[in-house]
């Protein structure tokens, strides 16, 4: 299924997005590493759903949003985005800081979304352990800590195998800056989120890699406890990037959970 790139103007910001597929709309919110585009798992999900994969403001090819101060601002922004893009009531998938954003959106406006998929989301203070300080390490070292086994990643070469071009390096730096803007303090969590989540009754799937060294996998259990309609799937041999590390298994989980059948 081929995708197209588009721009949606929301709240004065031009938001770059990948769009493709067929069926009910699914909004996909990327993690701190940025929008990786029409990757393998997205292609599989797009066989069953219309996937919208926007690039967060301040990231990649989207416009600046220096006024934003936290993930709750980004969550409000994506509730506007749903309206601006005419998505109706989409399913929502978010990874890492995108997962935190999705959780905040569900807490703010549970009726604006259908089903919720949270993939290794930050956002809660771990009851045990700590969220790795991703700003403390050089990016190459951080990548090594982010995935469990690079050799097992089918798209490794195309996603990470080549040294970045100057333009890509500039975008990576910009992505890191915006991540810092949104998540610096309290670091990668909202102390109030745990009070909001019990009001979110949407069916929810939480996906975690058992070997996640960025966010303790035990946080998956915290999310499951707090979200009344949630179940937790833990992938073995997987770090912080389940959609990239196990794209086929991840896509299968998502398609089954969202109940997608191909639409004519």
């Amino acid at each position: 299924m081929r995708a197209r790139e588009t721009t949606v103007r929301v709240g004065g910001i031009d938001v770059h997005a990948w769009v493709g597929g067929r069926g009910e709309p699914v909004l996909v919110l990327h993690g701190a590493g940025g929008n990786r585009g029409w990757t393998r798992w997205v292609q599989q999900v797009a066989e069953h759903f219309t996937v919208w994969a926007p690039t967060h403001p301040g990231f990649g090819q989207s416009g600046d949003a220096e006024w934003m101060e936290g993930i709750d601002d980004l969550a409000r922004f994506y509730l506007w985005f749903i309206d601006a893009a005419g998505l109706g009531r989409p399913h929502l998938i978010g990874h890492s800081i995108g997962g935190w954003t999705a959780a905040e959106m569900a807490a703010m406006s549970p009726r604006s979304i259908e089903r919720l998929v949270l993939v290794a989301p930050v956002g809660l203070k771990p009851e045990d352990g700590e969220i790795l300080d991703v700003f403390y390490y050089p990016p190459p070292r951080l990548l090594g800590m982010t995935v469990h086994d690079p050799r097992a990643i089918p798209e490794w070469d195309e996603l990470f195998g080549r040294p970045p071009t100057p333009a890509q390096a500039e975008i990576a730096e910009r992505n890191r800056e915006m991540t810092a803007r949104l998540t610096w303090k309290p670091y990668m969590h909202n102390p109030r989120l745990a009070h909001f989540l019990p009001r979110v009754t949407n069916p929810a799937l939480i996906v975690w890699g058992r070997e996640d060294r960025i966010v303790p996998a035990a946080c998956g259990e915290q999310y499951r406890r707090l979200l009344p309609g949630a179940r937790l799937a833990v992938l073995d041999g997987c770090g912080h990037l389940p959609p990239v590390e196990h794209p086929d298994a991840f896509a299968r989980l998502v398609i089954d959970f969202l109940g997608g059948a191909p639409r004519p």
Partner: protein, 376 residues
Amino acid sequence: MKLYYFSEMPHHEFPDAEGEQYPSLRLEFPNRFFDPERARANYQRYLDEYELADQVGFDGLMLNEHHSTPSCVNVGVNMSAAVLGRITKRAKILLLGNILPIEDNPVRLAEQIAMADLISGGRVLSGFVRGVGVETWWSNTNPVHNRERFEECHDLIVKCWTSPGPFRWEGRHYHFRHVNPWCLPLQKPHPPVWIPGTASPETAIWAGRRGYTYVPFLVPFDVARELFEFYRQGAAEAGRPVTPGNLGFLICAVTADTRARALEAGRHFVWRMGPTLRGPVEFFSPVGMRSRAGQRFAMRARPRSLASMSYEELVQEHFIIAGTPDEVADRFARVQRELGIGHLLLEAQESRMDHPTTMRSIELLGAKVIPAVAAL
């Protein structure tokens, strides 16, 4: 040209092999190596050295502040300024400075600087700095806000000093509903403001617009001249003249009775060029702290890190000046000619340079060098 005495108040009382086991002496080197007994003695000693510098005729006594590092245990520049304000008599007290972006309460800062100015009888030169990244980690301040917070914190401090209270401040980063400090500086309209620089063109331009004294730290002459050009650009925009009194420069310097002894003492400065600056780039320049323009200038301005230079090269390039009083005076005159500055800041004690060596250097600088360069 005016000379200023400066010590970072180091705490280098641990085996170097211990420090080398950690990624950096800053942030990571555990404070179990901090020795309160040695620190107690060090503070007395460092203050004695400042006191002597005042007595022998230094124009100013410079203080700085760092955190979470043995390279500088002056953790409160306004505290040490207040002490110097009381124990010294005539030299200016140059705070270089208060680290504005990491401050959550600029009003308290305005009060503390005012109090030091009052205790010292109006001798404070109030430097404001953006800090190195280490202080951003230490204070957990978002680095992407560094420059915005620097400027807003500055604006509020100056307003505290110059606008009658009570007033309200509702900014982006600072919010105070009732500002009315009952402690105002003796100097009017306020203590002179100094700004250091190493690589940010924006800072030089910003300082130039305001006519603040601008002081590059430990950069090659050509980089200092380039930064001074940015400063002049800012000054021209505001229609301000630039005199040597607007420009300063910081180097490391020591003298002794013989050249050999001075060169031996000068080796202590190598510690601050390498080991104390060792660490991941993220520690010193966390993401977003520097603008892209600042980053590009820094890449260009520092083709070689100080850490990669030998002692002899550091001496050759004027980062360290060590010699007899006559030799040192000649080199200072050369720096003055190269840069056209009115203020030369001397980091004149470092690492394990002992008390007698430091005191003798201060005496000789006062007796022979200060008179020799005063008329430059």
